[in-house]
């Protein structure tokens, strides 16, 4: 099958003795959409913090296409190809949608290489692709802060595509969305499937069914189970840990 894009190897962090993530190992293959499930406090967001460099791990390794990116600074991890979407949508509110995407599509990150006004052909092409993919062509001149909740989320997704991220971490991308918006997000993720590798934290099972190629379940910071939706739903350990011993009524 395809090569591993993101490899977590015994990853762990402890906050003054409390192990939020504990010896977590997982391999996500290139082009896969992996959904990470787990009850509140299972360590899903912390795991994303460890991958993206927001929190420094105390054990284990993170590898991106074989390259060790453990505990690099956030912008170096981002430059290596990891994009992250936050639970609370985070965009540049006082800039226009166009400028948000221009900033995201800029190829070279240093100050001195950005003392220029013109966009390169490469950047312009990527910009056009992103605008088409996320469907914001009608809103380019609006302030990003004036977008609706759904549009904000899509803009942020577009920025991750524009940034050239190969592995994208999505933390509850449909939180607070209407049914219609959720479905549009699902189709957006499905168009990105293949060209991007995605790790998604999500609770909305309808949405998970729509996008997931494989599910990993986390419990108390540890890897609990992994497999297709059907096999996870049938898994006894998952039922006990995540759904509660009584299951869903």
């Amino acid at each position: 099958m395809s090569a591993p894009a993101l490899t977590l190897d015994g990853l762990g962090v402890s906050f003054s003795g409390f192990k939020a993530v504990d010896g977590f190992s997982m391999v996500v293959n290139a082009g896969e959409v992996r959904v990470l499930l787990g009850a509140n406090g299972a360590g899903k967001t912390t795991l994303m913090d460890l991958i993206s460099g927001k929190t420094k791990s105390t054990a284990g390794e993170v590898r991106l296409f074989g390259r060790d990116i453990t505990n690099l600074e956030e912008h170096h991890i981002a430059q290596a190809g990891v994009g992250r979407k936050f639970q609370i949508p985070s965009i540049f509110r006082d800039l226009s949608v166009r400028d948000n995407l221009v900033v995201a599509c800029t190829r070279r990150p240093s100050v001195l290489s950005n003392l220029r006004v013109k966009r390169s052909a490469d950047e312009r092409q990527r910009f056009d692709e992103v605008v088409e993919t996320v469907g914001l062509s009608g809103s380019l001149d609006r302030l990003a802060g004036a977008l609706s909740h759904g549009e904000t989320q899509w803009l942020e997704l577009g920025m991750l595509i524009g940034q050239g991220a190969k592995v994208i971490l999505l933390d509850e991308p449909t939180a607070g969305m209407t049914q219609g918006e959720t479905m549009k997000t699902a189709s957006l993720i499905n168009t990105m499937r293949g060209s991007h590798t995605m790790l998604v934290v999500e609770h909305d099972m309808a949405f998970v069914r729509e996008i997931a190629s494989k599910i990993t379940v986390m419990h108390l910071g540890k890897h609990l189970a992994e497999g297709s939706i059907a096999s996870i739903e049938a898994n006894e350990a998952v039922r006990n840990a995540y759904l509660g011993s009584g299951g869903i009524h």
């Binding site: 912008h75 994009g83 540049f92 221009v102 800029t106 920025m159 940034q163």
Partner: protein
């Protein structure tokens, strides 16, 4: 080139401003011209504040640090060129205050007349003083910026640190009286001399040095924020984390623009000395640094030209009001009122007001060009 409605008006505003300050000598006498040169310098400070506060979101309450250091650097050179420093029988020019402070048997030479007086030796070359006035403030800004932004200090803490630093440097200058003349500052300065020409502060040519300096700073800074780096800087202001996860080293952008802002303030300090013939620890007073922020707030902190005009306007009003007998001491209240009104009703300052008025104008006359009948040529 296709310019939007706002871009065209902005271009017009910049052009009008440049033409106005270049033509000012036609209408102003020597006294007002000299005064206006100082206001242009304050305009540069407005630009420096707008760059760091408006564009980078860094509220620096110690901009006077860079202004003061720039002023002191050039003053040391100009002081040595002053007739008051030429001592009969001495090997080198010696500032008069050093002589007054020196031990009676001290050697009358810059190397050793007082402790630390050797620091003045290279300033005998005016070029050195000019270079230091530009480089030292920028270097200090770089070091401060590097220390605080690498540690991700943000928001009000930056203001507190910069505020403390400007007061610290002020104390150092006052304490090292044998080298700096303490509270009294450096006075009785000589004139700037370029290519054998002396620049009397009341000459039109001196005004033009300041005016052209201001125009260059204004236009270059405008270009800088129009560049991609300026856009990325604004992005870091809106959401530093987002910028970081897009792959930008946020601290590098902050340090770079903080340094540019310090550099501009340093140049402003140098030009101020050329126009006013003194440097004093009052340049590092907290009140002065806070005034700069007020100018930028009234003019519009997110507009370089707005902040520049705000500074010039407030200082003109302040000077006129403080000299009017009728108003007397009320001028302070007038300036305070302007600030309060700007904060309450004009959060984007005069520049924001101008923009809103233009927008309204455009709505009322939507297609003026199209509505006008084509003029017929009569035979």
């Amino acid at each position: 080139m296709n310019l939007s409605f706002h871009q065209r008006w902005e271009l017009f505003a910049y052009a009008a401003f440049v033409v106005a300050i270049l033509l000012l000598p036609l209408v102003a006498d020597a006294f007002w011209l000299n005064r206006f040169a100082k206001y242009l310098v304050f305009g540069m400070l407005g630009i420096a504040v707008a760059l760091s506060w408006g564009y980078a979101g860094i509220l620096n309450l110690g901009q006077g640090l860079f202004f003061g250091v720039g002023a002191y650097m050039i003053s040391m050179s100009l002081k040595l060129q002053s007739p008051t420093s030429q001592l009969p029988g001495a090997q080198t020019p010696i500032p008069d205050f050093m002589l007054w402070n020196a031990e009676p048997d001290a050697m009358k030479d810059l190397c050793c007349i007082t402790d630390g007086s050797w620091l003045w030796i290279p300033f005998q070359y005016q070029g050195f003083g000019i270079a230091m006035a530009v480089l030292v403030p920028a270097l200090i800004a770089f070091l401060i910026g590097y220390a605080i932004f690498r540690l991700r200090v943000s928001g009000v803490f930056i203001s507190i640190i910069t505020l403390a630093l400007v007061l610290l440097v002020r104390l150092v200058i006052i304490e090292f009286q044998p080298v700096t003349n303490g509270f009294n500052g450096l006075t009785d300065l000589g004139w700037l001399t370029l290519g054998g020409v002396e620049f009397d502060p009341y000459l039109v040519s001196t005004y033009y040095i300041v005016a052209i300096g201001t125009i260059l700073v204004l236009l270059l800074t405008r270009l800088l924020v129009a560049a991609r780096a300026g856009l990325i800087l604004q992005a870091t202001r809106d959401d530093a984390n987002r910028a970081r996860y897009l792959g930008y080293n946020v601290a590098a952008y902050q340090v770079f623009f903080f340094t540019v802002s310090g550099l501009i303030a340093g140049i402003a300090g140098m030009l101020y000395v050329i126009a006013s013939e003194f440097a004093s620890p009052t340049f590092l007073d907290l009140a002065f640094s806070v005034s700069m922020v007020v100018w930028a707030a009234v003019g519009g902190r997110s507009s370089l030209l707005g902040a520049c005009i705000g500074a010039i306007l407030i200082n003109t009003v302040q000077a006129t009001a403080s000299e009017s007998e009728m108003l007397g001491e009320a001028w302070k209240a007038i300036v305070g009122l302007m600030f309060v009104l700007a904060v309450l009703y004009l959060p984007r300052g005069l520049a924001g007001l101008a923009r809103d008025l233009l927008d309204r104008l455009r709505e009322q006359v939507p297609t003026r060009r199209g509505a006008l009948p084509t003029p017929q040529r009569s035979e």
